[in-house]
Each structure stands twice: as C-alpha cells, then as structure tokens.
Symmetry: C2
Subunit: 300 residues, 2 copies
C-alpha cells in the first residue's frame, strides 16, 4: 500500500488550517527572471528540503512544459522536483505515482487544457492521493493556467469573450474540488475574460469568481482567505448582491441583464476572504524616508 508511509512525514507547513495551502496562478509566470511566483511555490514547499511533483497532464507537450519548470526550480534551489507525465486514466493508477505524491511537499499542475486534467484524473487513485495530500496532510497544491482553473469544484473549460455574456456561452464542468465556492479564470487581463465570470456568478451567486492575471497568483490559506502575489492583478467577481437577474428568462445565446455585480481589483499584498466575501487591504505603506543628502533643512 504505497500511501501508508505518508503519515510518518513531517506535517505540512499550514497544519493548523483545515487544508493545505493552495497557490493558483493566472498563467505565463516568470520562469527565467526574478521568478517571484515560482520562488513562492518553492518557499511554501520547503525550499531545499522541498519535494515538488509537477503534473503535466494538461499539456499536449508535457516534456517541453516540464523542461521549463525543471530549469526554474533547479535555479531557485528546490531540493527535488520531478514530472508526472500522466497521459491516460490507467497511468493515473500507478502505485509509484501515489507513493511519490504521499512523499511530496507540493504538487504543481502545469498549464494546457483543464478538460484534460479533469477527464483524465477524475476519480483516479492519483487524485485520491492528491486530496489526501491537501486535506489530510495539509500540504501545498499549486497550479498555473489550466492547472489553476481545474482545481475548484465547478470550473470553466471553454467559451471565449466577446460572446461570453450570452446565455450558455461559457462551458463549465466539474473540477478537482480542492475549493468549493469559487471559480477561477486565468490569463484574465490579456484575454478580457470578465464576461465569463459574470456569467458564472449570475448563474449561481454562491460561486465567487476569481480572475487571475498573468504572472499573478492567489495564495489560499485554509481554503478560504487568499493574498495576491506577483506582478499583475486579480479581479474578484461577487454576485451575492445581484438584484434583477434575467438569465433564466432568455433563450440559449441571447443576451440578458444582471443588476449589481461587485468587482474588486486586487494587487500584490492585498487579499480577499471568499467565505465572508470581504476585501482585505494591503499592509499600509511605510511613510517615504528622504534619501541621504535630501534630508530637509530644519530651518525651513
């Protein structure tokens, strides 16, 4: 039983919480420069003591996807990182992979097509091991692009702007279910995707829409609160205050009206609580300190 020994491993870094940490990235994160986001993955995974498994299932070119992360994680100084090129549901039963997930400190999903992740990994032993890793061992899961979009209970897998606000134009399915009440969209600014999240929250205001810009991520703690990391922006779309809603009253691909969707723009350092639906401001900036030689004269 390959999963037996995971209980002997040191507990995850966020073991006081209900789940492990979850780092969702909007795609196209820096892999050659400062690598702020991949450094955050490494830090949360334990750095030189970390063991990161990279699941490339979303990608149609898994070897190429892995090479970029191999280089980046080596440069950052991650202790161990290895790929899991799972291409079929049968491969997702391999005891060796389940063993490796049990021993890992982080599992990272690379990008591609989220429907590959859900249709290949759904209801497999590898996914069961992943859920144990996250909910019982409380260890890190991270994902970028499709690898981030796939990880909530309900996910978007297709449906491009500008048609995204026509009824039924956003394709949704069941996801990996590490978080319940949110739907994540990625490449959010570059692809103008707010229509997709408005359609999602109009369909059911229980779901909080989280739109991740590129090279930008949200680090969830305990499955509930997140802080933004990276160079771009996150838009939160909250439908709980919707008044008039016309979506049930029109035909497929018709336009509809929706009154009062709340949007929060969140950049590095600020955050959000998806349970209380409250914006969390960034820490106050330090007052500017005059540079050397610029100290104002006390005479003035």
């Amino acid at each position: 039983m390959p999963m037996e020994n995971h209980r002997d491993l040191p507990a995850g870094r966020s073991s006081g919480e209900k789940t492990g940490k979850l780092l969702l990235i909007g795609g196209n994160e820096d892999k050659t420069g400062e690598m702020e986001i991949l450094r955050a993955v490494s830090a949360e995974a334990g750095g030189a003591a970390g063991r990161i498994e990279v699941i490339t299932t979303a990608s149609s070119e898994p070897e190429k996807a892995w090479e970029a992360y191999e280089r980046a994680f080596r440069e950052i100084g991650v202790g161990y990182a290895a790929p899991m090129h799972i291409r079929t549901r049968t491969e997702a039963e391999a005891p060796e992979l389940i063993e490796r997930i049990a021993e890992s400190t982080a599992v990272f999903f690379s990008g591609g097509d989220q429907l590959r992740i859900t249709s290949i990994l759904g209801a497999t032993p590898v996914l069961k091991a992943l859920r144990h890793h996250f909910f019982i061992d409380k260890r890190l899961v991270a994902g970028t692009s499709a690898g981030a979009a796939a990880l909530t209970s309900t996910i978007i897998y297709d449906g491009e702007s500008p048609e995204a606000l026509r009824k039924g134009a956003v394709m949704m399915t069941g996801g990996i279910a590490l978080i319940s009440n949110a739907v994540v969209d990625t490449h959010f600014m570059t692809r103008g995707r707010i229509g997709r999240l408005i359609q999602v929250v109009a369909g059911n205001p229980r779901l909080v829409g989280i739109g991740l810009g590129e090279d930008t991520g949200v680090l969830f703690t305990g499955g509930r609160q997140f802080k933004v990391v990276g160079s771009g922006l996150v838009l939160v779309v909250d439908g709980s205050s919707i008044g008039f809603t016309g979506v049930f009253d029109v035909e497929h691909m018709e336009t509809f009206s929706v009154e009062d969707v709340r949007v929060h723009v969140i950049s590095s350092g600020a955050g959000y609580d998806i349970e209380t639906r409250t914006f969390q401001p960034p820490p106050a900036r330090e007052p500017a300190v005059p540079a050397r030689g610029e100290t104002p004269s006390e005479d003035l």
Copy 2:
C-alpha cells in the same frame, strides 16, 4: 447670422426634457441587414422628415465612412442625410455648416479617432452650433465608436487592455461635453476593456463608466436615463461604493487595489439612470402563448 433661423424650426421630439436625446453606439453597428440601431437614429431624427448631418471628422477615410451611412440611411428612408467632412479647425468655422446644423434634426458622429474630434472641433463655431442643437433646440445627437466616446465631458482616447489597470495607463482628455458625469467606452466586449473603465471610476467615482458592446447603443433621454438598444450588451461600472482605494498610493504604471466596484450588465430593453445610479429592468416578458394547435386540452 446663419444660426438665426433655427428657432423657426419645429421643436425636437424630446423638448420637454433638459436636452435632446443622445444615442451612443459601441461601434460596428449593422449597416446592411436589419439595421436596428440606424433605424432608431432615423426614427428619433424624424424619419422621412428627418435631416441628418454626418460628421466624419474622426475618420482618416471620411469619404468611405460616409458612403456606408449614405447607403444605409437611403435604404431606411431618411428624408435627408449629408456628410460634413471637417478636416481642419478653420473648416469648422464655415457658416454653411453652422446653418446646416441649425436646420438639422440629428447630428451623427462616425467612428475613427476621438482625439481628432476633440482636437479639431473643440471650441469652434461648429461645436457651438452643436451644443445649441442639443441643449437649446433639444434635438438628437448620435455617435458610434470614437463618435460616441468623444461626447462626454471627460473621455478616454487611448490605453489598451491588458495594461489598462496599471496606474496612468488610460489616456484621458476633455470631450464634447454633452453629458457630464459619465465616460463612454466602445467595442467593449470584443476588446476586453473593463479595466479602462475601472481605472476611470477609481480615479474619480463621480464618473459612471458606460461600456458599449458592438452593434449596441444607449439612448439617453434628458441627459440622465438611458435604455439599451441593439444586439449586444452594455456594462455600467459604478465606483460610488468603492471602499479601499490604492490608486493615489502607487507609482506610474504600478498595479493598485480597489474595493467594491459595482457592475451592471444591461441588454436590450433594460436601462440605467446615471444620476440616481439605478438599474432599470426590462419590461416583463409576456407569458408564453401556446402556438396554434398546441393549446393544452382543458381536460388535463
């Protein structure tokens, strides 16, 4: 004095209001099919009795722009339509044009670059005549794309997504000022422009952001309330409920956070009041009437 005789003309159709009607279109309106929006322009202009002047100043190919409208308005049956190819500030002083505006029932601004409209027409006699036409004679003004974006007091003239939510990335200037407390953006869904309007309303929540989809327009009555016409969507972005706002606290081109922007999705038949900032639902749909032969048996 060419403007003398305008008072002898029949009053505009909305003379009980504070201004004429204003029809702002998101660009790319249908000019060859059903032409729902151009038919609305014609109807508001008086149809067969209407006189529409088309100002092509925004366009770098004014003759081409005019040809499409000439064909469309002729097909619809507008009584009179003619172009004003104003290319220089000097041309915008011509008494003949001022006379024609005084006699028109509608002035229509075609698309192109809104900065051409404001920089060429600002503070000219033609614009003075236009303001008289709208505010005193209470006659229709319409515009599409740049011709819609140019007509508020403060306007956006440049700054593309995805960078639009970085401080200072949205270029603004003074507009034609037919409406004061709104900023209009066009081609809104196709170009993913919500970031531009969020930056505008974060900069000053007094301004209501109106994002117009293509082949979609808003018909303002009295400079305050509008109804949506056309095949697409309008997004209203209201910053009056913004709590935390970080825009003044970051450097040029940095990202910032903004708490609680309200967004309304508005499609044909619904509307909005920019003064009270309230969504106006569409008329209730008629209950479905069974088609002939489908009448349910009274026995059931």
